[in-house]
Symmetry: C2
Subunit: 178 residues, 2 copies
DNA sequence: TACCTGAGTTCGGTTAGCAGAGCCAGTATG
DNA sequence: CATACTGGCTCTGCTAACCGAACTCAGGTA
C-alpha cells in the first residue's frame, strides 16, 4: 500500500491512491479487466518483475480489488488465480476516464490499441458526469470541501482558480479546510 | 515521466500513467483543481518533499496538464505559478472516478472530506459512462482491443472473465493482441 | 524416482523518495 | 550602500522501491 498521501484519510483521492497508486497497479487492473487471471500471464503481458507483481497482487487482494481463487488445470497442480471482485470491476470507470483523457490529450502516433465499449451493445463509451439521471458536462466538475462547520461556500467557487495573489490566505485548497 | 509501462504506447492507460502515474502527481492535480497554484502552497498542503514537487510540477508542465505563468505579488519579486491547462481541467473526470470508487469501496472512518459538484447548480456529481448522449450503467463497461487485423470478437467478451483453464491460449488480455 | 511447470523468492545493483540543510535572486528597508 | 526577507528551488546522505537474473518450491505426471 502506498499510504495516505498528505496524511488526511478523509480525502477519497488519497484513499483510492493508497490501493491504486503504486507503480504497475493500474496496469494490472487493466489486464484483469481484460480477462487475465494468472500470475504468468500478468507477468508476460506487462513485463513486470515477478517480485513486484507478487507484491502488487497482494495489495490488490488486500484492497478488495482482486480475490484469490484456487483452480485446477487439466494437468499439473492446483493453482491460485486472481479474479476481479465487484469493487475491482468498478475500476473500469476509472480506467475509462484515464483512457479517454489520454486519447484526447496524449495521443499516440500509432492507431489506438484499445477502447471501452458497452458490453451489451458494443457501442463505444466515453466517461461522463451525472447528477442523478442527468448528464452533466464534465467541464462543470468542481471539487468541493465538505464542511463540518464554518462553511464558507465561496471557497469552492471557480474564483479560486484565479491567481492567488489577490487573496493569499484564501488560496489554500478548499479541501484542506474541510 | 514514468515511461510507458508494458512498452506499448498504443495503450491509452499506459500513456496516461506516463504523465500521471508517479507518486504524488494526482494529489498535486487534486490541489490544482481546488485552486492551488503556488509552489509553497502545494508543498504545505501535501507535505511533499520540495525536490519531488519540483520534479512533478515539471512533469505536469511537460505533459500539458499545468502551465507556468509569471505573477507579481504586491511586494517581492516576480514568481511563477502553476495553472491548469484545459487538459489539466479535464482530469477532473479522472479524479471524480477515483473519488467515487474510494467512497464506495474504501470508506473512511471519518466523514468525507470532499466531493465533486456541478459548478453551476452545486449538485453532487457521480461518474458515469455514456454512449453518445445516453447514460450507460458503468457495470457494462468492457475493454476491447482495437484490432488492426485478425479480429477475434470473442476475445473481449465477458467470458474472458472466467477462469483461464478452459482455454489457456485465449486467456491473454485482449489488449495485447491489438 | 526424475522431470515439469507455474508461482513465487532471493540477491546484488540501480533508481526513486525522503528529511534536513543550504542556496539563489529579486525586492524592500534602514 | 548593506542587510534582511521570502518563495522557489538545489544539494546531500540515507532509506525504500524497483529491476534483472538466478534460484527455489511444490504438487502432479511419466
Amino acid at each position: 500500500m502506498l499510504g495516505i498521501l498528505g496524511g488526511d484519510d478523509r480525502c477519497p483521492i488519497a484513499r483510492s491512491l493508497d490501493v491504486l497508486g503504486e507503480k504497475w497497479t493500474l496496469m494490472i487492473v487493466r489486464d484483469a479487466l481484460a480477462g487475465t487471471t494468472r500470475f504468468s500471464r500478468f507477468q508476460e503481458s506487462l513485463g513486470i518483475p515477478r517480485e513486484v507483481l507478487t507484491a502488487r497482487l497482494a495489495t490488490l487482494v488486500e484492497g478488495g480489488v482482486l480475490e484469490r481463487r484456487s483452480y485446477k488445470p487439466e494437468s499439473g497442480r492446483a493453482r491460485d488465480e486472481y479474479v476481479l471482485t465487484g469493487a475491482g470491476q468498478e475500476l473500469a470507470m476509472v480506467l475509462l476516464a484515464l483512457g479517454d483523457w489520454a486519447d484526447r490529450n496524449r495521443p499516440s502516433s500509432a492507431p489506438a490499441g484499445m477502447r471501452f465499449v458497452d458490453a451489451e451493445t458494443g457501442e463505444r463509451l466515453a466517461p461522463a458526469a451525472r447528477a442523478g439521471d442527468r448528464l452533466v458536462d464534465p467541464e462543470r466538475i468542481r471539487p468541493e470541501a465538505v464542511p463540518p462547520e464554518h462553511a464558507r461556500p465561496e471557497d469552492a467557487q471557480p474564483e479560486n482558480a484565479q491567481p492567488e495573489n489577490a487573496r493569499p490566505e484564501d488560496s489554500r485548497p478548499a479541501l484542506e479546510r474541510a
